[in-house]
Symmetry: C2
Subunit: 332 residues, 2 copies
Amino acid sequence: MKLQTPYLMFLGDAPDQLAAKTAQGVVDWRPEICIGQLKLDNCNADLGLPDLTLNEAFDKGVKTLIVGVANRGGVISNAWERTIVEAIEMGYDIASGLHNRLGDTPAIAEAAERCGRALYDVRHPTETFPIAVGSKRSGKRLLPVGTDCSVGKMYTALAITNEMKERGMKVSFRATGQTGIFIAGQGVSVDAVVADFISGATESIAPANDPDHWDIIEGQGSLFHASYAGVTMGLIHGSQADALVLCHEPTRPHMRGLPDFALPDIGDCMDANLHAAKLTNPNARFVGIAINTKHLDEAAALTLLAETADKYGLPCVDPVRTGVAAIVDQLG
Amino acid sequence: MKLQTPYLMFLGDAPDQLAAKTAQGVVDWRPEICIGQLKLDNCNADLGLPDLTLNEAFDKGVKTLIVGVANRGGVISNAWERTIVEAIEMGYDIASGLHNRLGDTPAIAEAAERCGRALYDVRHPTETFPIAVGSKRSGKRLLPVGTDCSVGKMYTALAITNEMKERGMKVSFRATGQTGIFIAGQGVSVDAVVADFISGATESIAPANDPDHWDIIEGQGSLFHASYAGVTMGLIHGSQADALVLCHEPTRPHMRGLPDFALPDIGDCMDANLHAAKLTNPNARFVGIAINTKHLDEAAALTLLAETADKYGLPCVDPVRTGVAAIVDQLG
């Protein structure tokens, strides 16, 4: 799978801005490939992009319509279906982050078949992966890991990727979730592969490379999340990370979706992740800590970053507030 | 899914006894439900059961034809297809442990549809599972974990189940792999569910129960196996094990299928598993060690068991050589 760029962002009838979170993430990180947005009636989200019709965007060279919003009730409405079919007939590929598959809507499947266009359901891997072999691959790899889900692992990975690019380093962002896949144009939703293949899929997306090339692999879940830790474990083993970055959100009251579970201590979390990582890379080490301080004021944020850096003897940054240069300084 | 018993064991044209390993496992643990075996020409496996035709077995009350052998080259041959279709038309359900799905063979799918019989592909879960919630469930649970794959975790779980039944304790074996599912008549191949649902599937198969009831959950993989540890991690969290049993095979030269990976130290392995288990059950503890000593002579085996028991302060048994009574003594 390799999504063709540039993109037109389809917002459908998104009820609010939050429903367009995935689309917003793509615009934030790849504004140069997001040419415009397409809204239907009753759309309450906006990405700050030009409003374009399918025809207008196609004339500007757009190749793929990105469905980066949640649809109401999990059903593709008639209005959505008409728009998507029209796009296919005009020559667009369609890439969707919906839970339901595009091809499960007969009119969409029929149009794609008839017009020879591609349908990409980025939540639903269709490739067959090998079982992980664990053999050392050339090249270097960095993996953000978290005290919890949704603490900024993708944001951290993308910020590190950009910082390394600016320094002229050889680097690739490797996507493991839907927003990351739209951003990178390729990748695998590792939480959606068959369980036996989590590590194998991860090995596949970050293959052997030049000795001085870095894969920055999007993290998923947390070893301390009772619902998803299996995904995280397989991702750690398959990534063979040389470098780990601990990601944390300091104001969260409990593990995401699990009111009975407190967040782990940062030190305990680093110990557990390092222990797991050393199975496939005995030289794995933490190179920094990334804290999402958006809910703290500037003074409190900077104090926390400084204290955490001091406590663990590692660079401690907020990718938004301070940038990630101090972490990239650790990557030889 | 609940397989109807008794079973007729289909051996097809199994090239050797090893190809019938799954079928043999079912016969070993549930001889009372395995009424006979059915071989085709060139079958080189034998389960020591009466050879019965489909008609003879049906007359004896058999309900399900168990396809518990590997098929050559992953293709269902014409001879297999004829036999399976004939069974369906006679009134059998079919349960298969093949990698390919029964319903992918059109004649088999058509016959099942036409005759209203069930096709069970036990390697391919069809249920939808919830995301794991991690909340404490009533009842008690035991999970065997291993230094490696295929070190006797299922055997240990079944032996403990039988010992507890003999003592009149409330106990259920919960199957997580194909042989276990044939033995229990139900269960889920947890290594074949979508990665996000490993823990959720495990929670589903071992639900809340009487406070003095034990679920003995079949283990899978190893936290130290670079290919499959994600499955093991999710299984540990979903099981909320009160009691863990460490399973080990002392003569293995390296991790199964991974020549570059040595087996972990038993103590390190117990530490890692206990750390993972405490996330969803802070009271988790090891209650014993099960060592597969079949490649050792009696004197060496008994010495190893005694030394290991002494070193870790836990009952140490070989389920085959010594039985598991010493472990069950630990379960209140």
